[in-house]
């Protein structure tokens, strides 16, 4: 029923090749510049990479994504945790959270650009403001679901703050943190795109916009894929190992001989 056994190694290599094949076929059938073939996109990618353009813009975007990701996660987790844990804090802040959550990125970005000028801090701040409520909403649910019996145990055994944080709360919040990290990375990168589009002169968002001006779909896809590959790398090298480590206690018996 619940086949939680470790999946075979080949499993990860099915979907993408299939996708690429479908894409190939479609682009062959349509034969339009609006759906370039994988080969064409790859070529654009290689061109941009060897001209150094790609690295420059990718670097700038990554820098913005990572900086705002870290800021947003820290603030969002703190906020969400407090709101989930203390009903009064939640009651006070909830209307603001709903407000911030649903304030269009466009609005924050415009207002910040106008007030602070078209500067880097405005860009970063706009992204952070857009992302924090999302993290908070997810983590709040986690904080609400914390196990009260373990909490009592921790009180009796006088767990200090670091122990509560690290040994009691973190493992329970872990799935929520993973969900917001994954969703968050994606969201932040999308907001960074808008930010770059409206008021920055570099970064992938800027390039995408340029490509969009002339409907250069192949460049659009190339730049998007470049970033997605980076995220896929983060997924494989950071998130999944982290997840395996953190889930070790869950199904320790399944690796039977």
């Amino acid at each position: 029923m619940t086949a939680q056994a470790r999946p075979a190694g080949w499993a990860a290599w099915i979907a993408l090749p299939v996708l690429v094949a479908v894409w190939m076929l479609l682009s062959h059938l349509l034969d339009s510049s609006l759906l370039p073939s994988p080969a064409a996109v790859l070529q654009t990618l290689v061109e941009q990479a060897s001209s150094g353009q790609l690295w420059h813009h990718l670097g700038v975007t990554l820098y913005r994504v990572i900086l705002s990701f870290v800021l947003a996660m820290v603030l969002g987790v703190a906020l969400g945790f407090c709101m989930g844990r203390w009903a009064t804090v939640n009651a006070v802040l909830d209307p603001v959270l709903v407000l911030m959550l649903n304030l269009p990125a466009l609005v924050t970005i415009i207002l910040l650009y106008v007030w602070m000028g078209l500067v880097e801090p405005a860009a970063i701040l706009a992204v952070v403001i857009n992302k924090v409520p999302n993290v908070a909403v997810t983590v709040r649910e986690g904080a609400r679901s914390l196990d009260r019996k373990l909490e009592q145990m921790a009180t009796v055994y006088r767990f200090g703050w670091p122990q509560r944080l690290w040994d009691l709360w973190l493992p329970q919040l872990f799935p929520y943190l993973m969900a917001s990290a994954r969703g968050g990375l994606a969201l932040i990168w999308k907001i960074v795109l808008v930010v770059e589009l409206l008021g920055r002169s570099d970064g992938i968002g800027f390039q995408l916009h340029m490509a969009f001006q002339v409907f250069d779909v192949s460049a659009i896809l190339a730049y998007s894929l470049a970033f997605i590959m980076v995220v896929q790398l983060i997924e494989l090298l950071v998130l999944q190992p982290l997840e395996r480590r953190a889930h070790r206690w869950r199904h320790p018996e399944v690796t039977h001989a």
Binding site: K149, M153, V156, Y157, R158, F159, D167, P171, W249, P252
Partner: protein
Amino acid sequence: MLELSFDGRGFRQPVLGAIHLRIERGDRVCLLGPSGVGKTTLLNILAGLDPVVLPSAFTQGSDLRVGYLFQEPRLLPWRTLYQNLVLVGAKREEAARLLSQVGLTGYGNHYPDQLSLGMARRAALARCLAVAPDLLLLDEPFASLDAERAGELQALITGLLDQNPAMAMVCVTHDEADAASLAAQRWWLEGAPARLRVEGGGESAGRRSTAAGPDSQNAGPLWAEARGGEGA
């Protein structure tokens, strides 16, 4: 060393009635009563966990070091047994010693989910002993254990209490034999809301089972005191 006075108000459903009790150092108490009467509730109150009972209800003793064996193991499932013990302050060697004393030699690196329930409860007992408590609260320490193992653990606890005459204990059990061999005092919980009846005495369980040490009022770590006495 601990004195509690609680008028029973605050519970949505009146679980416990008014309760006045006193526990002195060295007291060994067995708490008996039918299922669902409020034994666990009382232990929670003694451990300072019940939100209904204000700290002001404690005339004394709200800052005691408590070792509480909950009715369920309540180990952190994402930490191995060693880690669970180290977290409450045990040294690694001490953890290993305690685990072997409860019959879990070699299970230090197992996660709680890899244990049977009886084993997990024994691990929880080890944790409870690891904190060198002033007050030992045990909620059915021998449930889910075969007679032989139960006997061993009973000997372990009795030995520990004898070594530390200042340590107080309240132990919930349903077994008359356990009660007889572990404790001098018996508290009965009866009725709804439940009232505390002290076997052979008034409302207070003030008599100690073993004459021991000076009756210093909450002064100094009791465990250390007992250790010193042991060495002498």
